[in-house]
Amino acid sequence: MQNCTVHDCGANYRNPAGGPAGFLSANSRNVKFYRCLAYNIAPSDFSLTQVDFVGFDLDNDSNGCTIDSCYAHDCYNSGFMLFSNGDAGWNNNTITNCLAENNCRGGLPGFGEITINLPGASDPTITVQKNTTFNNRVYTGQQFHNDNQGAVGIGSQAAACFKAPFRRTSS
């Protein structure tokens, strides 16, 4: 898939356990997203904490898939995400030459501009190389019990099989 644009999706989606993406592969082999753009993948109401709402996602049982030379900006969570959901078939997936800019609008600490979430014991191989991320959003509010914390560059969650935001409880 190349030269495609997806934007302003998921506004009315309400499911805290899983949400939309601009581009997503699942149960897929050797899919390549190339020179694609995703932006404003976000709920209309940020008061309900939700996962996903990302620009690009190589998800369940993706194998040999690549996101190359793509651009994601202003999404609620990550610009780019690798998420295996513990699936043993998830392996050899790549994010390269991509640009992520001012995503993480929700400020959830479990999501970075690039998120790597690979729970389970399958020990998959990833390549995250030659990407550029930038975020200069201003995050405000109290330091505890506040999802709107900031924007991480690369967020990695590998030890636990869950998809809920990883909240910081102390600084």
């Binding site: 640009l99 790597i116 191989t125 550029t132 967020g155 030890a159």
Partner: protein, 110 residues
Amino acid sequence: MFQGTISKNIIVTNVDIYGESTPLNARTNTSTFTPAVEISNNDWWQQSGGLDIWWANTQYFTLANWQTASDKGANTQLGNPNFSAPGPAGHTQMTFPGWGATPQSSYGST
């Protein structure tokens, strides 16, 4: 766990509500985190806020301390990745998408 490569990425971060700037959050609820993944030759620039790296269940505020604890992060730079800055040794900085990248025809000649 996972393996593979995280390298040659330019990560520009800014301050969070804690006053920190986090290029890498690999926080777990365990005292050790030992993925076989290679993390090297990245530039993590904190445009504002102090450096903050989460690794396993520990928060590091200096690059050296995290490198020692994780045995990752060889040749990491923390400087402004502006286009006149030198890249990590052994890499030639391109205009985009970063050091050592194979020039893409869509980005023009390099």
